[in-house]
Symmetry: C2
Subunit: 206 residues, 2 copies
């Protein structure tokens, strides 16, 4: 059995126990035919190919979509499915933040990701073209440019997340960076796969 | 007497009482020689020209720079000079937020402006290419895409600003938009000019 979380540029695979690897969408040749591949996919160009492969099973149709909202990304839904109580931060090209109350979806919001925010400041002015200070003092209003932009991004995100007073779980490619700000959070790089894995008992096993 | 707040693309003039107008930097011919022009300028390409005009007086040298920090924009400083107690939001290409306690600068932070944030979301994914909902319910976690990005920008900014529990004064080209979120704030489009005007008694009058 394999799990696959397919994005716009890369496909992330997980063997369900220990091993994960990534493959670019461009390099994907579809030659995984030894067993079932349970997948989610946000790349419309890839969907037709995946649907034609008899051993690939799209988990999207097994989600109780009524729990979430129309247009919510399936990767974001799977991360939420893995959490019963808590606030889920998926830090990638965008940062999605979602609240789960006793298994019920409580809504969420989206910020641009670390790279996108850095680019946004740099586009406004070369004077704002700085990396973020993830060791920023969150209790002190800044008096220098690097901390001013770091605060304008990280402190505002921190304030909102902490306001919900729930366990925090961070996943996604930039999870380690955000962990410096949310020091008591749990980092779980397999969160989306955990949500996917929970769907499988609903289907015939591999 | 004229006051001039010179930016990277346009020069904003004020006659000190009622009349304001804008001129693009490109169109500027320097032919204002009837009286003194008190100015601030963030455009390095223009500075040499302005310095050569005998009736133009740069107010920057009259600011007590020690109150602020090295690298802080002179327009931002002038807005702060106009406020004794409060939180100053200047909503332009960037949104700067600065705290003043009894005339003392308490630090501040910078977010990308409305246009920059909208572009940032749109660059991440066409699904996030939405205008912001300034009538967003700030007390409710969103369950649709437009509100999710609006919340990720406006609610986070709102939460941080309100935390300081001070009078809020908004200035800048996007002040009217942000006023929908900060409904109890004062909008003062002349705030920078007010700060500049306060400097003038320190210099010989026009």
């Amino acid at each position: 059995m394999l799990l696959c979380d397919s994005g716009n540029t890369s496909m992330h695979f997980y063997d369900g126990s220990t091993h994960t690897y990534k493959q670019s969408v461009e390099e994907f040749d579809g030659l995984i035919d030894s067993c079932k591949v349970y997948y989610i996919n946000v790349n419309p160009d890839l969907e037709t190919t995946l649907q034609q492969m008899p051993n690939w099973i799209n988990l999207q149709s097994y989600v109780n979509a009524e729990k979430y909202y129309d247009g919510m990304g399936i990767d974001r839904i799977m991360a939420c499915e893995a959490v019963d109580e808590g606030i889920v931060i998926d830090a990638g090209s965008a940062i999605t933040v979602d609240v789960m109350h006793q298994g019920v979806y409580g809504g969420g919001f989206i910020c641009p990701g670390i790279h996108a925010m850095q680019a946004s400041y740099a586009n406004i002015s070369s004077r704002l073209s700085n990396s973020f200070n993830f060791e920023l003092d969150l209790d002190k209003m800044p008096k220098n440019t690097q901390d001013s932009i770091s605060y304008g991004f990280l402190r505002l995100l921190y304030g909102e997340v902490m306001r919900h007073n729930k366990p925090i779980i961070i996943t996604g490619g930039d999870a380690r960076h955000l962990h410096k700000v949310f020091q008591h959070a749990t980092v779980d790089e397999l969160l989306i796969f955990k949500g996917m894995k929970q769907m499988i008992p609903k289907i015939a096993s591999c």
